[in-house]
């Protein structure tokens, strides 16, 4: 039975997340954008979430009682927190990408380790290290080496664009999932995920990136130098390889989409509020050619938003039901990446000179929003995923 209504649990979660966004995120968002790297982690926000937020967000923590639709709950939360600020969303002390990888590839023991970590006193983060300087989207070409050495593995390499590396490795007792190859000549088949704990002397943050947006959150270059880890830190005991990295995308993509759509909705809400103050009402039912340009822009923005959001919700619905969603997840990401880009760019135009100014948040949302079409597979990579599926083509047929 087709339905477009959320469960009460999700509605409640939305209200709770909205109150956090309004009270604990929005007031600080500009500051954390302006003082990239100079600011600390937004500890007040983080501690609030860690200490009290669990009553609302605990469904997102490992070990929590699993609700009916865990992923549906997650995307509604990430949408709303990112509506507050996507940088703050990235600072949420929850398992995120690293945790996701463990859930997808880890053994029971490893999953328990993750759970334990997130039950401690101190806020904890994880991160995932995949990309390298010579390979962006082509993650099968990674060069970071993992060499078996006695009772452990030794990792060497350099990883780029590691989101939250500083939070996971320096600011908490977190950990990093590193994708490395056990045989550089063997391509995908030799790539394995490894778990590196904070405090390991072989891992070092070489550089924090200066970014266009997303400045409340760190993105780092991480160096692994003779980084020794115990045997049991090979995730999944070596059985789960590169496909594990790919499998995480089925949920990572709608998750990223939802985050982007939070930014886009922030823009739409703001623009409509400002226009409302000017006495502009949007005549939704009027034929398009009879509208004003600004009405049509707003309707187009809302339409595009809704289209992308429904694709995202559908992907989440499939994930929660265990229905394979590779195509649908990529669709949500393609659409959301474009939607947030266009909506945030257009939002500035609609507000004129003020839209371009830091007096409003629109310019920040445009900068923040651009990440959505770039990470978790660029728009191009996701098109490739969709195209291969609908055409029945292999990676060789369609490069």
């Amino acid at each position: 039975m087709i339905s477009f209504e959320n469960s009460d649990l999700i509605k409640e979660q939305q209200r709770y997340a909205e109150s956090i966004a309004l009270e604990r995120i929005r007031p600080l968002a500009r500051y954390y954008d302006a003082y990239e790297h100079e600011h600390e982690i937004p500890w007040d926000f983080v501690r609030f979430i860690w200490d009290t937020g669990r009553k609302g967000l605990d469904a997102l923590m490992p070990g929590a009682e699993v609700p009916d639709e865990p992923f549906m709950l997650q995307i509604h939360t990430s949408e709303m927190i990112s509506w507050g600020d996507v940088g703050f969303f990235m600072c949420l002390p929850w398992p995120a990408l690293g945790g996701n990888a463990i859930q997808n590839t880890g053994t029971e023991e490893q999953k328990n380790r993750l759970t334990e970590r997130f039950r401690g006193e101190r806020p904890t983060w994880t991160c995932m290290a995949l990309t390298e300087s010579h390979c962006g989207s082509d993650s099968s070409a990674i060069r970071t080496r993992a060499v078996r050495d006695g009772d452990g593995w030794v990792l060497n390499g350099e990883k780029l664009f590691v989101t939250s590396a500083r939070k996971a490795l320096e600011e908490s007792e977190g950990f990093m999932v590193v994708w490395a190859t056990t045989d550089p000549g063997a391509g995908r088949s030799a790539i394995r995920p490894f778990l590196v704990e904070a405090g390991n002397p072989g891992v070092r943050i070489m550089k924090l990136e200066n970014k266009l947006g997303l400045r409340a959150s760190d993105t780092a270059v991480v160096i692994l130098e003779d980084c020794r880890i115990p045997l049991e830190n090979l995730l999944g005991g070596g059985e789960k390889g590169f496909k594990g990295a790919m499998a995480t995308f089925d949920s990572a993509r709608p998750a990223a989409a939802s985050s982007g759509l939070g930014i886009a909705r922030a823009t739409i809400d703001f623009v409509k509020e400002e226009l409302g103050r000017q006495g502009v009402t949007i005549r939704y039912a009027l034929p398009r050619r009879l509208l004003t340009a600004i009405e049509r822009d707003v309707i187009d923005m809302e339409t595009e938003w809704r289209a992308a959001w429904l694709l995202t919700v559908r992907a989440a619905w499939m994930v929660d039901r265990g229905i394979p969603s590779t195509v649908e997840s990529s669709m949500s990401k393609v659409k959301a990446g474009e939607a947030v880009t266009r909506i945030t760019q257009k939002g500035i135009e609609l507000m004129g000179p003020l839209g371009y100014s830091e007096r409003m948040m629109l310019e920040k949302w445009m900068r923040d929003g651009k990440i959505i079409d770039l990470f978790e597979g660029t728009g191009q990579i996701n098109r490739l995923v969709i195209a291969r599926r609908i055409l029945g083509y292999s990676g060789r047929d369609l490069k």
Binding site: M1, R288, A307, A308, M331, I386, L391, Y393
Partner: protein, 363 residues
């Protein structure tokens, strides 16, 4: 809880509509377009699906309840077959569903049984007007109160089956608001004019109709004394058109996908060119997105929620999407896209109707 799974009953409707579209609509599509007449088999065979009687309560001769969602699920499949056929088959909706939604008990009793018979019977609605500033909220066709009833004056265009129907549901401005009146086609003052000739929808009989001081009894105002909620009727109409836009787009996209996978150029299938593969990926994504918007609008209608915005989003997105998809399909076929031996040029002509024509379908 969100759900994207039709009921078992709806799945059966989808299957039946799909079979009808493939078996009856597609093979006759080209001929009917060239001849400018719907193939009788469309209505005969299509009526066997009993979609409309299944939407009308027993007390009025039917055997079910109306569901916008079921309609859009069926309409997408039907329009995948042919848009002209779909609009022809579903033309009875134009009278039946507004009466069902907004009619007085007397109007329901009077009009609905006619649509529960064994044979398809046409329905006609007159919303559009032949002027470039046409605005459904500011109609030039006026209804004025006169002698306890109304007098209707104005000119309409693109009225489906005006000549063939006994009744026309005429939309007119009454006290500055759009209302609908049930007018017998043979009433004095009603003149059914020429067949319209449009770029597409050529199989569908559309007429211009003029009303010259045409007297209508008070009881024929849709909804009786208090009139009807036109916003709701328009939202239902737009949702219907949007669902058909998805069907037309899917037809064009399916065809282009098969074509580019089979056609070889420069030594490999066209679809292995990244620019073509990406185009297809974008089209299928937008088709899915449009379908979800349509479903949401239909769900809103069924839930009795305000569907104006949802319907606007659905039609806004789907109409552009269908046009773009049909255009890209023509493009992907190259010269074959331009000739009438192939169906894609027909889909392009039909796809342009969405976002331009109003009120020729409803759910």
């Amino acid at each position: 809880m969100y759900s994207f799974e039709p009921t078992e009953e709806q799945k059966m409707v989808i299957d039946a509509a799909r079979r009808l579209a493939a078996r009856e609509f597609r093979p006759r599509m080209r001929d009917s377009d060239e001849k400018g007449e719907p193939d009788p088999a469309w209505m005969d065979e299509g009526w066997a699906l009993s979609l409309l009687p299944a939407s009308i309560p027993e007390q009025f001769g039917g055997f079910g309840a109306n569901s916008a969602l079921t309609w859009v699920l069926a309409a997408e499949e039907l329009a995948w077959g042919d848009l002209g056929a779909t609009l022809a088959l579903l033309a009875p909706n134009l009278v039946a569903l507004p009466v069902l939604r907004a009619g007085s008990p007397e109007q329901k009793a009077m009009h609905l049984p006619a649509f529960c018979n064994d044979a398809w019977a046409p329905g006609a609605a007159a919303l559009m007007e032949p002027r470039i500033a046409f605005d459904p909220f500011a109609l030039e066709t006026k209804a004025v109160r006169d002698n306890g009833g109304y007098r209707v004056t104005g000119t309409k265009c693109n009225v489906p089956f005006a000549l063939e129907s006994d009744w026309i549901l005429v939309y007119a401005a009454l006290d500055g608001k759009t209302q609908a009146l049930l007018v017998p086609t043979n009433a004095p003052g009603v003149t059914v004019g020429e067949r319209e000739r449009n770029m597409g929808l050529r199989a569908l009989p559309l007429y211009s109709v003029s009303f010259a001081d045409c007297a209508v009894p008070a009881s024929h105002l849709l909804g009786g004394e208090q009139g009807c909620d036109f916003d709701l009727l328009l939202a239902a109409s737009r949702t219907a058109l949007a669902s058909m836009a998805v069907g037309v787009a899917r037809a064009a996209c399916d065809f282009a996908l098969d074509y580019t996978r089979q056609r070889t150029a420069f030594g490999e299938p066209l679809a292995r060119r990244q620019s073509i593969a990406f185009t297809l990926a974008e089209l299928v994504t937008d088709i899915d997105a449009a379908r979800l918007l349509v479903w949401e609008a239909a769900w809103n209608l069924d839930q009795g929620k305000d569907a104006v915005r949802a319907a606007a989003f659905a039609l806004n997105f789907s109409s552009d999407m269908a046009l773009r998809t049909a255009d890209r399909a023509v493009q992907l076929l190259g010269g074959y896209g331009y000739v009438r031996d192939y169906p894609v040029e027909l889909w392009l002509r039909n796809a342009r109707a969405f976002g331009v024509l109003e009120g020729i379908a409803t759910v």
